[in-house]
Symmetry: C2
Subunit: 134 residues, 2 copies
């Protein structure tokens, strides 16, 4: 195997051949979303300079933005101290990472009241029917 | 079951009863670390106001900071649009989240040169032997 792939061999892929990935926005440092990559997805991400994930539901490579145009331009790729989590620093085209039309997927906040619950605290910036063309 | 636990039932726990957790620093928005929680860990985190994870290697609850004093004071708990990832916004006591003595666990950056590789780009702020008392 070429030494070109040494960096991919460093990753501790899980029992499904996947690694968890956190996408963080360059500048704001907002956490935009969480997804998974397999070896091909990470190699393709580095090659393309845009985030390519592994869709566990569709069981195929998922070039984020392929349907919405909301690509993620990758500025940095990092791994953690255990070599088993990837952090992408990205520029989010369109400003929307979430399929619900929100900036970030993490819009549900825990509210610890009499009846603890999750509350939607971030606005929908664009209706999904205007993001995904039929 | 009491309605007090409705918020815990909202989480889509994986086949091992776990959910991925991203810890992000309040203020800087730096991503500090990634870990896992089971139902007890998340309930305990909310109750205590400090991060309690599930250690997959030790197979027990892990109150982050119990050995180092570097607790994580929880300011916000969020979940994503699929209810299967938790984001904690924390104040990192001691400023060190990583067991290597670094601020963040994500100190290895991908460098795409002639031979692509991971480079340590963030400094060790405190030697681990001074963090973990024998």
């Amino acid at each position: 195997m070429s030494t070109k792939n040494k960096w991919l061999n460093r990753i501790k892929w899980d029992e499904h051949g996947l690694v968890p990935v956190i996408a963080q926005e360059v500048g704001s440092n907002d956490v935009l979303m969480f997804a998974w990559m397999n070896r091909d997805a990470l190699a393709r991400t580095a090659e393309l300079g845009q985030a390519v994930y592994w869709s566990r539901s569709r069981k195929k490579l998922w070039h984020k933005g392929e349907e919405s145009g909301h690509f993620q331009q990758v500025h940095e790729i990092r791994i953690d101290c255990d070599d088993d989590v990837v952090l992408l620093k990205v520029e989010q085209v369109g400003g929307l990472a979430c399929h619900t039309g929100r900036h970030s997927c993490f819009f549900n906040k825990f509210l610890d009241g009499g009846e603890p619950d999750w509350i939607e605290v971030d606005p929908v910036l664009k209706a999904p029917e205007h993001i995904y063309k039929k």
